[in-house]
Amino acid sequence: MTNSKHVKTLNNANLKCSAAKGGCGECQASCQSACKTSCTVANQKCEHEEK
């Protein structure tokens, strides 16, 4: 997290690195979680073994 006068970034912004190591498919299918009518992935957990 950076802290300066005009901007404050809240996270590591690591989406790009996640792509390189990702895609193993072990995590929950998104529609199974609660909703059954929509697809929201933002709240899902990664279950990749060596992260």
Partner: protein
Amino acid sequence: MIHKYSLNGYNIVLDVHSGGVSVVDDAAYALLDYLDAPMQEKCPEEILDKLSERFGRDELESAYAELYGMYQDGILFSEDDYEQFADKMVSSPVKAMCLHIAHDCNLRCKYCFASTGDFGHGRKLMDFETGKRAIDFLIEHSGTRRNLELDFFGGEPLMNYEVVKQVVAYARSIEKQHNKNFRFTITTNGVQLTEDKFEFLNKEMSNVVLSIDGRKEVNDRMRPNAGGKGSYDTILPHFQKFVESRGQDQYYVRGTFTRYNLDFAEDVLDLNAKGFDQISVEPVVTDSKYDYALREEDLPKVFAEYERLAKELIRRKKEGKGFNFFHFMIDLDQGPCAIKRLRGCGCGNEYVAVTPDGDIYPCHQFVGMEDWKMGNLYDGTFDLKRKEYFAHANIYGKEECGKCWAKFYCSGGCNANNLQYAGDVLKPYRLACEMEKKRLECAIMIKAAMADTDSE
């Protein structure tokens, strides 16, 4: 690509392709109206001129310098270089299944997409043989995937509770030899959720979805039993006891809001007041011919309600009395990988639904649409061409999604809704998109507000 918005006093900037989320002050926010990649080291004079009435030159220059720093760090206007992963978004093993163990129901919910449980094809309970074949199918098609998910769905699955137990026992008896780990979940309306079932369900179900709409009058209007009487007084105590027996964990109470309760935040808060802290309340998905269907003109009201709920949630979190609202939960650092996010819901590719007759459909929302049937467990058919088609229903297969700022969070919407309302699996359904984007804006704003508290 960036998305910026002001909400609840926060100027928020989402850098779409890096996932970076920043809160910026008014000067930086104003500058962003004029900026795009490639950024130059010094702020162009004409931009300074344009904003000179609102901000001092020094202020603009220092804000620009910080934005430029973000740009150099790859968290502002970062590039879309995900096409290279397109090969990871092809046909993959089947690893999740929605098992329609009962096409029958003891409620007559008005908005039920299964048309009161039978999906328009007559009431029917799945027999054990079909359930067993479903387990075998899943194992056989799951390749190297270890975690296999199976949701008992309906209709109302507890109307066929004995077969649920048999199917679980069967899967448990063979999972080790196949090096698999089954995760069962169940979605129930609660009518038959009596204490004698708690022990089994708590042992075997890694998550349970408990259907209830919120306030008594809201629930009873849409969720009556076959005799027309509201279900609330039956299900609420069942759910309360059940959740208690699970240690308040691994469940969702899940409601639907319609045009009849556009003040649905009240329903969320009422569920919380009744002792639930894992809550999901979602917009009804139904034909616009119905009176209770959400319409375009309802959006401002729905948006305002999401904002109201978000602010209330922040207030409660700060007091240590927060709860989880499914669609506001977002993990900005440790969430799923970008591939997962781009791949879409998996329907018809890594996820399928199976009916009491052993018919295979792309997902529960497609069940009953004859044209979309993918195969059958008894004649051994499984349409791989169609599977391939769904594998390409990812973000890059949907033109509008590729350009959408919400793509890494929404994952491309619901194929079934797209088909029903926009006429094409690959065409996002606008009303759903607008609500999804609003929920995301609220979810991110909550993070900003909580980060603000932490640093105080």
